[in-house]
């Protein structure tokens, strides 16, 4: 006897506890198995690219904060690098180190969120997430010390950072690094070898490197697929050519590797921060640039960084005015979502949530 079944279409999102914002996937299930996936975007579309065309080059920095709001420092950095390439200027070394340092702090914060929510979606009721937020809170406090805001930092400016770090920042950073070691070790102890986490994520949704490359996937997802591609290594910007770090690479290409790569990147970020503290020298933190920037007409620049989600790039075109003529944002979250079919089809409902968590999208950046 054969049992007659029929597929069931479910709209996961835009209001769902674990779609990382207002993301919607229309999924057709056969029982609990996923047959068809269709993502629907646009619920958080704010037209950032259009808004950028109507603001001057410095004002756009405030818009970049709101792209991937979990890593606004890195967004600032990407944009400022693009503008600097457009202007053909180079920030002073201290600014470069400050940028590197804050970007790495932000990367830790963003990866903590990614890891915390990844495990939350596995069903750990908030505990790893709270531990992650406990540490992230300290980072945000450091940001408040630096620039007066925690999430929407607007810390960097074309030509450097808005101001040098206050004096009390450095001892606070030292204390944070000390405490974070302990807290993060605790989190690793809770998660890294947990058998339940292992069987839930090992071997689930592997993305072969060829598929990842063809889908333009970048960042930790690409590295988890076995490709050791990191723009901080390949195209060092700011002070990344001065510091040493390793690139963690996955060998199983699965959800666990994506989780593991993020955990390891936090360690590497800590290494980079320590080196920055050692190497940073006194000096100016900002170039003397006019308040309103006017790059030469016809110039274009592609400024990219390795953001916490992947390759974040700003493609700026100038027409000689005070505002960018075109400001294209290459958002890693959106483009990483290209693999959503390879990631989800054939797996179960429970894996779907976890896989979505493992590529760590941020709707502010997907919809822009």
């Amino acid at each position: 006897m054969t049992i007659r079944t029929e597929p069931m279409t479910v709209n996961v999102g835009p209001q769902h506890p674990s779609t990382h914002g207002v993301f919607r996937v229309r999924i057709t299930f056969d029982g609990e198995d996923i047959v068809e996936v269709e993502p629907v975007f646009g619920y958080l579309h704010r037209g950032t690219e259009k808004l950028a065309e109507e603001r001057n080059y410095v004002q756009v920095v405030t818009l970049t904060d709101r792209l991937d709001y979990t890593s606004s420092m890195i967004n600032n950095q990407a944009y400022c690098i693009a503008v600097e390439r457009l202007l053909g200027v180079e920030p002073p070394p201290r600014a470069k180190y400050l940028r590197t340092l804050t970007a790495e702090l932000q990367r830790i914060a963003a990866h903590l969120i990614a890891v915390g929510f990844f495990v939350q979606e596995l069903g750990a009721f908030g505990t790893p997430l709270m531990y992650a937020f406990r540490s992230r809170e300290r980072i945000l406090e450091l940001f408040e010390m630096l620039c007066g805001a925690r999430i929407t930092v607007s810390y960097m400016r074309p030509g450097g950072v808005f101001a040098d770090a206050p004096r009390e920042f450095w001892p606070a950073l030292d204390r944070f690094l000390e405490d974070f070691e302990v807290e993060f070790a605790e989190m690793e102890q809770l998660l890294l070898e947990n058998e339940i986490l292992m069987i839930r994520t090992r071997g689930v949704s592997p993305i072969p490197p060829e598929v990842a490359v063809n889908n333009s996937v970048s960042g930790p997802v690409l590295r988890a697929s076995g490709v050791n591609w990191d723009w901080r290594k390949q195209d060092p910007y700011d002070a990344y050519d001065q510091v040493e770090f390793d690139v963690p690479v996955g060998s199983h290409w699965d959800n666990y590797d994506r989780f593991w790569v993020r955990i390891q990147e936090v360690h590497q970020s800590l290494r980079i921060i320590r080196q920055c503290i050692e190497q940073i020298e006194p000096g100016p933190a900002r170039l003397e640039l006019p308040l309103v920037l006017r790059p030469d007409p016809g110039r274009e620049a592609y400024g990219r960084v390795e953001a916490s989600k992947g390759e974040l790039a700003f493609y700026l075109v100038s027409d000689g005015g005070i505002a960018p003529y075109r400001c294209k944002i290459r958002s890693p979250s959106l483009i990483n979502l290209t693999i959503i079919e390879e990631l989800l089809v054939g797996w179960k409902l429970a894996d779907m949530i976890v896989s979505l968590g493992s590529i760590d999208i941020n709707m502010g950046e997907v919809d822009r």
Partner: protein
């Protein structure tokens, strides 16, 4: 070990060897490709081992009022080099380009986004519909004449 960026001339010469009709010219950073030949050029750029551009960074369209530029940023992870090629579409109505979806699947959402916001249609894309805005939205907001 910085990534090498191909000059426009270099790329256009490499392209011209295989696809002479595809290349329209070059500038400092990019090679200019004939709009109708984008598909062929894309396949060549990806599959030719001496180019090996298997990673598509981004596709961008720029509205210059009289014409649209579409910019492709490419990277070869194996050879560690980057290149840019551009194509120019004249006019404002019924613009279309061959899709590179079959070459680089990473172009999927970016092409849809360009269609949605800029109004450049990509022929051969299997799911060419609006991505950020809803179906039935009038106009393409990133165009310079959209207010």
């Amino acid at each position: 070990m910085a990534v090498r960026e191909w000059a426009g001339q270099e790329l256009s010469e490499a392209l011209r060897r295989e696809l002479p009709e595809a290349v329209e010219g070059f500038d400092e950073t990019a090679a200019w490709v004939n709009p109708s030949q984008v598909g062929a050029a894309a396949i060549f750029l990806r599959d030719e081992p001496s180019l090996d551009f298997r990673f598509l960074n981004s596709i961008t369209a720029i509205d210059y009022v009289e014409y649209f530029d579409v910019v492709y940023h490419l990277t070869s992870l194996k050879q560690q080099w980057c290149a840019v090629f551009k194509t120019r579409l004249y006019g404002r109505q019924d613009l279309s380009l061959p899709s590179v979806y079959q070459v680089w699947k990473g172009a999927d959402y970016q092409e849809r986004e360009i269609w949605d916001l800029m109004g450049v249609y990509f022929e051969g894309h299997p799911n060419m519909k609006r991505i950020m805005l809803w179906e039935g939205f009038e106009g393409h907001p990133l165009r310079k004449d959209f207010l």
